[in-house]
Symmetry: C2
Subunit: 431 residues, 2 copies
């Protein structure tokens, strides 16, 4: 890295295709030559898979707030069937009615979802919500509107649970635009209701629109239809927005490959990578949505498979990993359902850039903002607990270089599926 | 519309849920009561489907540039198999080599894709590219770089066609960041190469990432795997990025329902709307991508089904229709493969807002930009040729109101699938 080569954005590039190509080809080849037979590579995966199963059996149940004596000071929601949600809403409304009849008006006790009421619990390795609540009273001028909105949302959810149909947040907003005024308001009260009733947003039958895709060695039922993801062509199966309709997961895969970008997903799907190395390949096409996170969590829990992640070598790639693993702050009340612990960082890692001789011109300089985000990440608990990750992130911040998964295309379009991933797996090179 | 009611954004809303709800319920009910039996509604669809088949049989082949004596003055690309693309590249390079050996350097003749070289052909109802070309010479200082980039892209496409694998534009860019400098440059030259060789971008095996989803009464093969879209749960099947791997389409549907938003798609999928009214439901989740447009075109051509469109009642909804029907300007050279003619505008139409008594508070005021876009659309040929569309658009611009498909949720979440769409179809209310 001593000689500063010209990079992207440099207007006066003089390209010497032949000379450069031969250098690239020889380094691509040298890595290809290190590849052992597929059965050797599969052995690494089988070990990983066994370890993953053992660790999930030994700590048979994951730690809970109760185990840590946090149950009384922290708050968590769980998946609840529609019938119970309905009953719980009826109890809430009945209590309000009684209070009104007693001449006391009515109010809801609503958990606070503010940043000061959240904390990272290292033992759980995720963000959880503390137990602070506030009273939302119909008789106070400052809360009367929010109380009315909360009542309306409760009544809508009640309808959804009675019919057992699913809608989006946008649908919910449109049932009464005049009252809600703005979708942020109905969205925010929806999260409040989720905390109040102690159940997940999916239990309320309000779902996010779908974004994720899955392909590979998994069979499941989606609303009763049997889906075999090895028979989904190159396009894959759209991950259903309503996770409660997904059931009967079966798989003979050895691992789950979580991919940040759909371009990489496409490459692996077309090369049917999952036939050579039995795996399930999932992408949320960037920032993960709730449906994909729930699907990932369900796979990990039910199939007890290790998860390897392939993300860009930039702070944003790590942010995405953190959302899968630790959850996002604004849904901390549901972190136990949304997070998938123990995802291994396979690549592209900052150390890979030199190790795999990614050409200088395919690396991008980090922006000031990137560097700041990288430094902020170094302060995050979920990074600090993994020494390997800290080391990688330090390389990134120091070299001020980032690279996309696509950068591997400089060695040939199929380098990702035919050399990089097999070699990574063979060397058990994950953190 | 005489009394100005308060709308979204008005801070001081006083909501009278009960009174308002009862008005809403009664109007929702009155429409529900107009619904005839499903067999009557199906009869409308059968007629539409027959008409659509007859019209596609009578004009057995769609008009072409040749029919209009435009073949010599306009330029079009077609789907070509990888072997032919490969040969065509070899011819181009051979010609360049001969020219070099003759001591004349070399140059490519590249079709111009600028706006002045495009035109709308009313008979075809789409935008086409005219025949202006320019010489891209290696010996000229102003074009040497672009000529080098073109040669590199030709060599990359040659590789792709030899291996018959597909990559994204991003992958292409990353093969030589130093040369391309910026993805816009490789993207733009890719389009040039497509025009030069006279074949579609999909023929070059460069695909866009997938975005669309399909569900309902269609069976097809995706890379050899048989996909039955009635058995895709509620999530649907992701539309494959490589259309050339899609084959053997079969369907017992009476129509294709093109849906702008994924929330509406989700509603129809969960309600299994396609079982009650046999149809194929497709969405590109907003602005249509190339893969969805190719899929739509293929369905329309092979299954000869009528297409009904459900979009937001705003200028953007119409823009989306125009992209499906007439193509986008920057891909005009490929308009014959990308466009699906004769899509009927089912809803939400500006006249529906009053007709279906969409509550005032669920309508949104159009912004200045919206109104300008609406007025611009009124000048577009593809609108002008349909008197019904002009009338609707004039209502929109005059009332300055828009509404999303979701606005129907104000009558209940399933109003869309249980009342609005069946009634629309029963009344054959499409334009």
């Amino acid at each position: 890295m001593s000689e500063k080569k010209r990079r992207r954005g440099d207007g006066t590039s003089s390209s010497k295709p032949l000379a450069k190509d031969s250098v690239k080809h020889s380094s691509a080849l040298s890595f290809k030559n290190r590849l052992k037979s597929d059965s050797t590579i599969l052995a690494s995966l089988e070990k990983l898979c066994r370890d993953s199963r053992t660790s999930s059996t030994s700590t048979s149940k994951p730690l809970t707030l109760t185990d840590l004596n946090l149950a009384s000071t922290c708050r968590e929601v769980s998946d609840v069937d529609p019938e119970s949600v309905k009953e719980s809403i009826e109890c809430t409304i009945l209590a309000a009615a009684k209070s009104i009849l007693a001449g006391e008006g009515f109010s809801f006790s609503v958990p606070s979802r503010s940043a000061t009421n959240q904390m990272y619990v290292p033992e759980l390795d995720r963000i959880v919500l503390r137990d602070k609540s506030s009273l939302r009273s119909f008789s106070s001028l400052s809360t009367v509107r929010k109380t009315a909105v909360t009542t309306k949302v409760l009544s809508l959810i009640h309808q959804l649970c009675m019919k057992n149909i699913h809608v989006t947040k946008r649908d919910l907003f449109y049932t009464d635009v005049k009252l809600f005024q703005d979708q942020n308001q109905s969205d925010s009260v929806l999260d409040d209701v989720s905390c109040m009733l102690g159940c997940t947003r999916s239990s309320l039958n309000v779902v996010a629109s779908e974004k994720g895709v899955v392909i590979g060695r998994i069979v499941f039922t989606d609303d009763g239809d049997r889906i075999d993801c090895t028979k989904m062509g190159v396009g894959g199966k759209a991950i259903p927005p309503n996770i409660d309709r997904v059931a009967n997961m079966e798989s003979d895969a050895l691992f789950i490959l979580l991919v940040e970008k759909d371009a990489a997903f496409m490459r692996l799907a077309e090369d049917r990578f999952y036939n050579r190395f039995p795996c399930v390949i999932v992408t949320a096409k960037g920032q993960p949505d709730v449906a994909t996170r729930l699907f990932m969590k369900k796979m990990k829990t039910e199939l007890k498979l290790p998860v390897l992640a392939l993300v860009d070598s930039d702070p944003y790639g790590l942010k995405i990993l953190s959302v899968y693993m630790c959850g996002s702050k604004n849904m901390s009340y549901d972190s136990s359902n949304l997070t998938t612990p123990d995802i291994k960082w396979l690549g592209i890692r900052p150390s890979d850039l030199d190790k795999y001789k990614i050409p200088e011109q395919c690396r991008l300089p980090m922006t000031e903002q990137d560097i700041k985000t990288g430094k902020d990440l170094l302060e995050e608990d979920f990074i600090k607990r993994n020494a390997g990750w800290v080391e990688e992130l330090e390389i990134m911040v120091k070299t001020k270089q980032k690279a996309e998964i696509q950068a591997l295309s400089s060695f040939g379009f199929q380098y990702l599926s035919e050399v990089y991933l097999p070699l990574k797996i063979q060397q058990q090179d994950w953190l």
